[in-house]
């Protein structure tokens, strides 16, 4: 495990990186230097600015869909002692971004998610005479338990289970790739270190290697 003493800290690392860049500036010619047609590259989807990314598409989900989605995401990853809920980590907005992308995988997911949200609300009206967002926790769980795991779902819930699995996967992606989620599962990397120590004695013991 990395201890505070051997952490370099981001600021120092950035200084270090800047140093590497500045050193280049004194060379007679650097790779950044173009004599003719100098300037920034023309940006395109296959050559985006990686250092400062821009998101240039709009979400397609309607307000009403986002409400159902938010309720569902928070049922999938609710707040607990260790971390906030999915919606507090921005998951519904992420899923909206995801299903609004033009690529084939995301387009296919859009159909599953949109169709699923409509299906879920219809199912809750059928069972409880209420919109999904107005259900009690127990009523929501009642539906979700039926669709939580495809191999155990009844045939009539096959699509519901596929939809639930998709939203669970997307919710996990949205949550655990956020800083809140990374902290929750104990991802402690992405910090520069002066040396790599390998696993701590505690970790070795846990793995049965000590």
């Amino acid at each position: 495990m990395s201890t505070p003493e051997n952490k370099m800290g981001r600021r120092e690392a950035l200084k270090w990186m800047a140093g590497a860049g500045a050193a280049g500036a004194f060379a007679p010619a650097t790779l950044a230097q173009k004599v003719e047609n100098a300037g920034t590259p023309t940006r395109s989807a296959t050559d985006p600015n990686l250092v400062k990314a821009v998101l240039d598409w709009k979400g397609v989900l309607a307000e009403s869909e986002l409400k159902i989605l938010t309720a569902l995401c928070d049922l999938i990853l609710p707040k607990d002692d260790k971390s906030p809920s999915a919606s507090q980590a921005g998951v519904p907005a992420f899923i909206n971004e995801w299903v609004s992308a033009i690529y084939p995988i995301q387009q296919a997911d859009k159909l599953v998610v949109r169709g699923g949200l409509a299906w879920l609300n219809t199912e809750s009206l059928r069972r409880n005479g209420k919109d999904f967002v107005d259900l009690t926790e127990a009523e929501k769980t009642g539906i979700c338990d039926d669709i939580a795991y495809l191999p155990k779902a009844k045939p009539e819930f096959a699509f519901g289970a596929l939809f639930f699995a998709k939203v669970r996967d997307l919710t996990s992606t949205g949550f655990y790739t956020s800083e809140i989620g990374m902290k929750d599962i104990g991802y402690i990397g992405n910090v520069p270190l002066p040396k790599f120590d390998g696993p701590s004695p505690e970790v070795l013991k846990h793995m049965g290697l000590a």
């Binding site: 395109s44 250092v51 990314a53 995801w98 992308a101 696993p199």
Partner: protein, 597 residues
């Protein structure tokens, strides 16, 4: 015409180098350092890793959290520009039944900006495979001929690893390798699981600096009779930092700790003043004079879309194996109606990739692990070299060549899809339970990936597709492919072995284990070890190039990328490409001195 060096282009050069990746970068470095005037033509745009690398950027800062898309197939942050499985406006085709995938990029430095940095030497067996088992082709030279160049390349670029004295897994000379990083926890666990199976697990060889290079002595050793070259190299080597054990190498490295042509080879080559580079220059044809000697190349200036011609005494193609074959096949003339340097009819033939197969395992001993930092050097710290030479020699296996194993796992930066499919482990958990399961399972999966030798065969080749041109008007390649039983049997063996290792570790496989190798094997081209297509050999009738990667037909024409390979050992090819390129460059300069070229 973007030109990235200070001088205006000269009217004539000693050498034109086509391509700026591992092969072009290495060739240009070796030549420019010795005073040869070089013009490099690169189809992609200028690219500067120091300013363009997203070092610490998080998934949340990228569209779709950085997930792969058709525009960025290895993820948003991957250092691939205008490329991947498709390059916009530059198609390729497959003949019926073929499904070759051709990975390319269009940027200065080529694929060295995003490659895996695994740098294994080919061994003595790998140069003489036909003599050993009667299959495939022998190289016209021995390991001993190339060994000094392996030492030089490893010293120049910086490769970590150890010398283990294992069969056909060569040691480097003393003082050449950088010390390997400590193994990660899961890598130690793999080693323990492999030990009862007698599967070795040793430090991998990776082109990453684990400590700052010795810029005071290395340059003098690399350029013993050329103090100016040594000083030029020292100044650039000094700017490279040691790895700081964070960030993904596939994004590139702004502190120059890993090997990229753009951080390691091109800066000193440019600093000599002997190298000019024109980017956005798509070469389409090598020109010749009446005597059949190469005179220069035609290229399309991508900004004006106009054809241009540049001249040199010598032409070196280093555009990646298939692309160099494409240029030769497109260089037709009355003297060479079959394409240039193709009197043997072998240009495009013996295309090879690496055999790939993987199995994923879930390991209970890794569940609920206390947080620890597994980032390390981004790449693997440990691997398994091929260990069954004896069984193979005794005829106990149904495939003739070896594979190595790469294992990836650990508590690495979460990426899209991180817990896809976890319901198989949790029975569909959601709610608070899912949060607990995520904490439990994070970092408990290990992917075992096999990388094995393919034997060249007559069914795998590329040729010009007469019906299709790219957006620059250049006829494109059409691929033909058929695996032989050698490869599919090997892939099945990989699956069986990986399942045994996972079981020995007390884990469970979570991806299919196939007994049919045709189901286990990756698609052709997918491992991106594109070699062959301009084979070297001892006989001009059956090969395109001699042992110096020099055309038999056109003596001032060379190919220094993966094209010359006549076997594709399980040792990833790039280190060998660079060793052979340096060796060719030395031959070019010796011939120039003698007045032969």
């Amino acid at each position: 015409m973007p030109l990235i060096t200070n001088s205006k282009t000269r009217t004539e050069y000693d050498v034109i180098v086509v391509g700026s990746g591992a092969a072009g970068g290495m060739t240009a470095y070796a030549l420019a350092q010795e005073g040869v005037k070089v013009l490099m033509l690169e189809a992609g745009r200028n690219y500067d890793p120091v300013t363009e690398t997203p070092m610490f950027q998080l998934p949340k800062d990228a569209p779709l959290r950085g997930a792969p898309t058709p525009d960025k197939p290895f993820g948003f942050y991957d250092a691939t520009i205008d490329g991947g499985w498709q390059v916009p406006g530059e198609p390729y085709t497959n003949a019926a039944g073929g499904n070759f995938m051709w990975w390319r990029t269009r940027m200065l430095g080529g694929r060295t900006n995003h490659w895996g940095r695994i740098s294994l030497r080919m061994g003595p067996y790998d140069f003489k495979p036909r003599s050993r088992d009667g299959l495939g082709l022998d190289w016209p030279m021995n390991y001993e001929d190339v060994a000094p160049y392996y030492d030089r390349v490893e010293s120049l670029i910086g490769v970590y690893g150890t010398n283990e004295g294992l069969e056909n897994t060569p040691d480097s000379s003393p003082g050449v390798l950088q010390p390997p990083p400590k193994p990660r926890g899961y890598e130690l666990l793999v080693k323990k699981g492999c030990s009862p199976l007698k599967v070795p697990v040793i430090p991998a060889h990776i082109a990453i600096l684990t400590r700052k290079q010795d810029y005071l002595t290395l340059p003098g050793r690399l350029h013993p009779n050329n103090p100016k070259a040594a000083a030029t190299l020292a100044a650039e080597m000094k700017k490279r930092m040691a790895c700081f054990w964070a960030t993904a190498c596939g994004r590139g490295c702004s502190i120059k700790a890993n090997f990229q042509s753009t951080t390691v080879l091109l800066p000193p080559a440019i600093a000599t003043g002997n190298l000019d580079i024109i980017t956005d220059a798509m070469v389409r044809e090598v020109t010749i004079d009446k005597s059949g000697k190469a005179t220069g190349v035609h290229y399309i200036d991508k900004e004006t879309r106009r054809d241009r011609h540049v001249k040199a005494k010598i032409v070196v193609l280093a555009a990646s194996g298939c692309e160099s074959a494409r240029i030769l096949l497109n260089s037709k003339s009355t003297l060479f109606s079959n394409g240039l340097g193709n009197s043997s009819g072998k240009v495009g033939r013996y295309l090879m990739d690496t055999v790939g197969a993987k199995v994923i395992g879930q390991i209970p001993a890794l569940e609920n692990c206390p947080p620890n930092n597994d980032d390390g050097a981004s790449s693997i710290h440990m691997y398994t070299p091929w260990w069954k030479y004896k069984e193979q020699a005794a005829g106990k296996l149904n495939f003739a060549r070896g594979y190595h194993i790469e294992f990836s796992g650990g508590r690495r930066m979460p990426a899209p899809g991180i817990f896809d499919g976890l319901e198989a482990q949790t029975g569909g958990a959601y709610g608070r339970k899912l949060k607990e399961e995520a904490r439990r399972y994070f970092g408990s999966f290990i992917t075992f990936a096999g990388r094995g030798e393919m034997i060249p065969n007559d069914d795998c080749y590329c040729e010009i597709d007469p019906n299709v041109v790219d957006q620059w008007g250049i006829p494109v390649l059409r691929f033909h492919w058929k695996w032989s039983d050698q490869e599919t049997n090997q892939a099945a063996h990989m699956h069986k072995t990986f399942a045994e290792i996972i079981e020995s570790m007390g884990g469970k496989t979570t991806s299919p284990v196939e007994t049919d190798g045709r189901k286990a094997i990756y698609r052709p081209g997918e491992i991106i070890h594109e070699v062959g297509t301009t084979c070297i050999g001892a006989d001009p009738k059956t090969s395109v190039l001699n042992q110096w990667s020099q055309s038999w037909d056109v003596k001032n024409l060379f190919v220094t990328d993966g094209g010359p390979f006549v076997s594709n050992a399980d040792k990833n090819p790039t280190l060998s490409i660079m060793a052979l390129a340096w060796r060719s460059a030395d031959h070019i300069m010796a011939s120039m001195k003698k007045g032969d070229l």
